[in-house]
């Protein structure tokens, strides 16, 4: 068992080594994680340090990214904001993947009514603009960060379920699975021993790809004033830049950096996820730069 695991890790290391997209993506992501974790040590000011003598001042030596309307250092705020942005993205993506994985396996493995019902729900969730439903649900139920995570996860598992279902549909027909079935293996055993291992790698890629979506959904929700705007993350910095009128008066140093960080982080994660997906899906492998 241990040996099998070892070769599994080796093959992951091999994939990373030969793939420059993935290397770059992972490196940038790692940089973000390091900044997020070390924010209290590297940030020049604290979150609550207000400097009344410099309010909404443009970048200077003293404040590298300028200050906000309360005289707080924006570089420090952006650094502190990374942690919760990453955390919400990661947790929502993991939760969405778990739901998507379960739904995909159930729907792909069992035909009939349950497959039909899950597939219709998936179609529905993919067709309607999720952000609208998130805003509506969020403004009714969201009281804190956990409920926002739950709402994002509940509304973004559908594309994952669709991909997993199609993999399960093809794996189910493979001779060794048919053989296991003929030998009288239970459904649960077949799912656990044969179906599950074959969908896990793709689930990993899809999880990585869902993180940027979750991060964007979260930032968009906060920007729309849904959820808690007291909690510091990149979305709340954008929200306050907008509602304080700093955006409308052209205070670019308030509005540009958090969005830039969001875009960099998402691009890095998407590069990693796409590269992994291409490695796992030979059909995509020949294509370069596929979104």
């Amino acid at each position: 068992m241990r040996k099998a695991n070892n070769s599994y890790y080796k093959s992951i290391a091999y994939i990373i080594k030969g793939n420059s997209d993935m290397k770059a993506g992972l490196a940038i992501t790692a940089l973000f994680v390091i900044f997020a974790l070390t924010a209290p040590y590297i940030a020049p000011y604290g979150v609550y340090d207000t400097d009344t003598s410099s309010i909404l001042k443009p970048p200077s030596i003293k404040h590298l990214l300028g200050t906000d309307e309360m005289g707080r250092d924006l570089l420090s705020l952006n650094l502190y904001a990374l942690k919760s942005t990453l955390l919400v993205g990661l947790l929502s993506a993991i939760l969405a993947s778990i739901i998507g994985l379960l739904m995909g396996i159930i729907s792909g493995y069992y035909n009939g009514l349950i497959d039909w019902v899950i597939s219709r729900v998936v179609d529905f969730l993919i067709a309607i603009p999720a952000i609208v439903l998130m805003i509506v649900m969020g403004s009714i139920f969201a009281s804190g960060i956990l409920s926002v995570i739950l709402i994002i996860a509940l509304l973004s598992w559908a594309p994952i379920a669709r991909v997993i279902r199609s993999i399960v549909l093809s794996v189910k027909e493979l001779p060794f699975v048919q053989a296991a079935k003929a030998l009288g293996a239970s459904d649960l055993r077949i799912i656990r021993k044969h179906i599950f291992p074959s969908v896990i790698p793709m689930t990993l890629a899809l999880t990585i790809l869902s993180i940027p979506n979750a991060i964007f959904s979260y930032a968009a929700l906060v920007f729309m004033g849904v959820g808690s705007v007291e909690e510091l993350n990149l979305g709340t910095i954008l929200y306050y830049a907008y509602v304080s009128g700093s955006l409308a008066s052209g205070k670019w140093w308030y509005f540009i950096p958090p969005g830039f960080l969001l875009v960099m982080l998402s691009l890095a994660l998407m590069m990693t996820g796409r590269a992994l997906e291409r490695e796992l899906n030979p059909r995509l492998k020949g294509e370069q730069h596929e979104l």
Partner: protein
């Protein structure tokens, strides 16, 4: 064909019913739901509360409330806005027109641009121009809508001097229709650019990958073998065959465009349904929020249905599936 249309109509109806049921569950059933809070809302007068009680049938059993709600909704009766103190459907119709003024031109423009650059990109597969186009569309696809809008606002304040909020200038007496139209256009420029750019990225990629997919088919190889010019193969064979995948994928992209419109309208205070959602959230105006949600979701489902039906007309294979 007839059974295909019937099937599509049925599934559309099912989706719409699902949307209405979802709204009922969210706004009425779950604990802390807005309707039960509504009667403690100090903004409502006694008569309005009585009226709502009768309209919603709140003293009746739950299943009866559900049917009253469905019946009301299908009649276009979506309740009264707390904030505007007007029927929700009237507000929605006015706002929906404003949304469409913004959404339709920018989506068409994005599709058109996407077809052009997506074709160039697929045509020059893996050459420098392809890489430039695909990475640009990747970045545009990644840009948060409201952030892109904000960048344009900052740019406009310092350089472009275009209006950044609303649809018209306040309190202006227009000399003629032309003046009014010009004012509308100048207000529309920035939201239009924002919405076009955010949907453009995904359209380019959709069209590029559809073209690349089809160019590996045998009949394309055969055309090369027959000695047709590359230009002819591209225009007569590839583009013609790729129109179907483009249609079906554009249907999915409608949802993305609508989501983009909600955020774009919010940033630019464009008085459409999207901005209405933002205002409803800020004012805790639940009837209006429910109405906006229903209108947006049902419109997207209907747009999908139209795309599906068109697909059925154009491609006989899907009808028999």
């Amino acid at each position: 064909m007839f059974s295909y249309i019937l099937r599509k109509l049925f599934s559309t109806l099912a989706s719409i019913l699902l949307i209405f049921t979802l709204a009922f569950i969210m706004f009425r059933l779950l604990p802390g739901d807005p309707v039960s809070l509504m009667f403690r809302d100090p903004r409502l007068t006694r008569e309005q509360i009585d009226y709502l009680m009768r309209e919603f049938g709140l003293n009746k059993p739950l299943w009866e409330q559900y049917f009253i709600y469905l019946l009301n909704a299908f009649r276009g009766n979506l309740g009264i806005s707390f904030y505007y103190k007007q029927p929700v459907n009237g507000i929605l119709i006015e706002r929906l027109v404003n949304t469409l003024i913004l959404l339709i031109p920018s989506t068409l423009c994005a599709i058109l641009l996407g077809v052009v650059t997506g074709s160039i990109s697929a045509w020059k597969n893996n050459k420098a121009i392809d890489k430039i186009i695909t990475s640009t569309s990747l970045v545009l696809y990644t840009l948060p809508t409201y952030w892109l809008g904000g960048l344009l606002i900052i740019l406009s304040i310092t350089y472009l001097k275009l209006p950044v909020t609303g649809m018209y200038n306040y309190g202006v007496q227009y000399g003629s229709y032309i003046d009014r139209l010009l004012d509308l256009f100048s207000h529309m420029t920035l939201p239009f650019i924002t919405l076009t750019l955010v949907s453009y990225g995904s359209f380019t990629v959709i069209i590029r990958s559809a073209l690349v997919d089809i160019s590996t088919e045998d009949f394309v190889k055969a055309s090369y073998a027959m000695g047709f010019s590359e230009k002819r193969i591209f225009l007569k064979i590839l583009l013609k065959n790729v129109s179907l995948p483009i249609l079906s994928m554009s249907a999915i992209a409608i949802g993305t465009s609508v989501a983009g419109a909600v955020l774009t309208e919010t940033v630019f205070a464009w008085p459409g349904v999207g901005r209405l959602i933002y205002d409803a959230v800020i004012n805790r105006d639940y009837p209006l929020l429910q109405g906006s949600f229903l209108v947006i979701s049902v419109s997207v489902v209907l747009a999908n249905m139209i795309a599906d039906l068109l697909y059925g007309v154009l491609d006989p294979r899907v009808r028999t599936r």
